[in-house]
Point group: C2
Chain length 391, copies 2
């Protein structure tokens, strides 16, 4: 990974601030992207056009010295933390160390992400360092355009995803049917929990991690964030949404398929067919310069034509199309660009999902999702998995 | 789970603020503990002694209405987000919705966690709402005292942990030895990656998730945060540190064992024996009213007696005892109370780890860790797993 930080340099120059700071742990992908290092407990980092510095605990010092992209790797002890503790108490001591570290990097003003911790921001401000939340999410914006190496990471995660989806499909389509629910070879009901476990084991065997897999059937599938539980229904569609992260590269993929074992109702079949048409319309709309909003609108248009409500026209609806068409995928499973209302122009190198769906409370839902990369002349679909409700 | 929030009510009264606010996702355990609900994307919540309110996206509304402990579950659309967007733009619209929601809950001032996002804090401040970072981490402090139900959750996660540790031990102790490394039945080297994968599969089968397992052998084990990679060494100790989270309850456990297949050096054996003595000394020290610092000191005293350096006396040391004795465990794998320098008095209901270790750069490391609950008259060890370097 060799990201281009010139956009960040421009941002700092335009904003008139000296550096971009982080105080976070391995949940912050912007920090990992910039520092080339992460840790389970929060550490402090500052990027400037001249140099990048990280301030870590003694426990992380060895790993940071080896892994971090930083020019400066400092420990609290380099700033006499112990002596400062005795003089000022533990909290004020840490704040003084932070302020000195920032000063040593030549910064009097810092931009920070909007989710930078307010405790740290207020402490730096108390030490006369200006802290300005960055409303433009410039680092996430830079991350939205992937290098070839990053796209390859997503591709690898997607191969794992397809292996896991195949395992889920095999379980669902291969199940017997008894009293309206799916059953396994051993006569036990086939549950959401069991399919999820088998998906996650398959992902682990392919170097990926995930613990939020959605396997939701019947009426549960009407709630797009419901993970699903209990025996899976015969006939009704089962939504399987898998978004693994490669443990090695930390990049994600994301794919959804909807499977029915048996004979889904006409209403389910129609929702699936219309969702598929909306899905194709969205793909057809993708090219550089087209906005995420326009791609989202292509989906809405198809649903409008078939009389399904959507959350953009009716924010209160729990029926119809109740989420956005898609989102960027990379170090985070949800990142920029937005393929939704207000979504900006797409650029070559954006990795996005296309995932329309239709939902009906009490009945169920369907969703179809591929992951694609925007190219100079359209898009390349990174997904290689058949789309079919029934077999 | 039925937590006691009277300490929070007192904190708000003492601080003279009206409520305690959150703007975070499912990574924030304080929020989950208070709201009884979490979501993959950040949502806003306010606790007041009179009522608790959450403000969620349309996508989360159904789930929040069912799951949240909140008295008020609101959507952005309840505050005319759409109309405000048109009048003020998307950012200012969201800020106005937040401010109105806070006002509707009767709050003019809010306490927030130190990691509350500065962007949201500044926005609320712009709307004349006082936002004060809570330096005492009051919610984490409340969480440190577990109910019986919470202790049972940890116990269950620990049973999964023991099954996974048994799988790791079986692989390491059962391996053949060839050219200084451990080999599997099929002749392939037994790697850290393979043992980790098998641990994580075992955890999944027991309803737990984890993707940070440490399986570090030989010189790699000298770095206490190194996850480990490549073929495992014969003879040298292998540190296995497993800290699963129950997917159902979201509570963690934490355990470390160190295994050697073969004949570890005298230096390794001595480090193990002294670590074991320090481990026992720490356990002996635990009772309500004793500080985390005193328990940590019991460990340091044993290491001092045997001439091993420690990071509290020498902050720069990379040899000897380079981390704290332990930490609280619950919804977070690292939470209060600290069993370290500065650690406060322990109370009945605290769930803590005891995990001394000794490390030598270039050679390796050993660590022994159990998880215990502080009781009225001492402690109960929640761990049921033999402690032995060699078999």
């Amino acid at each position: 990974m060799d990201p281009d930080f010139s956009q960040l340099d421009e941002f700092l120059e335009d904003s008139g601030v000296d550096g971009y700071a982080f105080h976070d742990d391995d949940s912050n992908s912007d920090l990992y992207y910039l520092a080339g290092f992460d840790a389970p407990d929060p550490f402090f980092a500052v990027y400037t056009p001249a140099q990048t510095g990280v301030l870590v605990s003694p426990l992380e010092y060895g790993r940071a010295s080896k892994a971090a992209r930083a020019d400066v790797v400092a420990r609290h002890s380099d700033y006499d933390l112990q002596a400062k503790r005795e003089e000022y108490g533990p909290r004020a001591a840490k704040e003084r160390v932070l302020a000195e570290f920032v000063a040593d990097l030549g910064c009097e003003s810092l931009a920070v992400g909007e989710r930078f911790p307010v405790g740290t921001a207020d402490a730096l401000r108390d030490h006369e360092i200006t802290v300005e939340p960055d409303e433009d999410n410039v680092v996430e914006d830079i991350r939205a355009t992937k290098t070839e190496a990053e796209i390859e990471h997503v591709r690898e995660a997607q191969r794992a995803n397809e292996a896991a989806m195949a395992r889920a499909e095999e379980l669902i389509r291969g199940a017997d049917r008894e009293d309206g629910v799916l059953v396994r070879d051993d006569g036990q009901p086939l549950t959401s929990e069991y399919v999820r476990q088998e998906i996650e084991i398959e992902l682990l065997r392919h170097g990926c991690a995930l613990d939020d897999t959605i396997v939701a059937g019947g009426a549960q599938a009407a709630d797009a964030h419901e993970r699903g539980s209990g025996p899976l229904p015969a006939d009704d569609p089962v939504v399987v949404d898998i978004f693994p992260r490669s443990k090695d590269s930390k990049y994600h993929s994301d794919m959804t398929r909807t499977f029915a074992n048996g004979d889904p109702s006409d209403a389910h079949r129609e929702r699936y067919a219309v969702t598929r048409a909306a899905f194709e319309a969205a793909l057809d709309a993708i090219e550089p310069g087209v906005t995420g909003e326009a791609v989202n609108q292509a989906v809405i248009d198809v649903f409008d034509d078939h009389g399904y409500p959507n959350v953009f026209a009716d924010p209160d609806t729990e029926s119809g199309f109740i989420h956005s068409t898609g989102h960027g995928v990379g170090l985070d499973v949800h990142e920029m660009p937005a393929v939704s209302q207000g979504g900006d122009e797409l650029h070559a190198g954006n990795v996005i999902t296309i995932e329309p769906g239709l939902y009906e409370p009490g009945e169920g839902g369907v969703r179809i999702e591929d992951i694609v990369v925007v190219t100079e002349d359209g898009y390349e679909n990174l997904t290689d998995y058949e789309i079919a409700l029934t077999d």
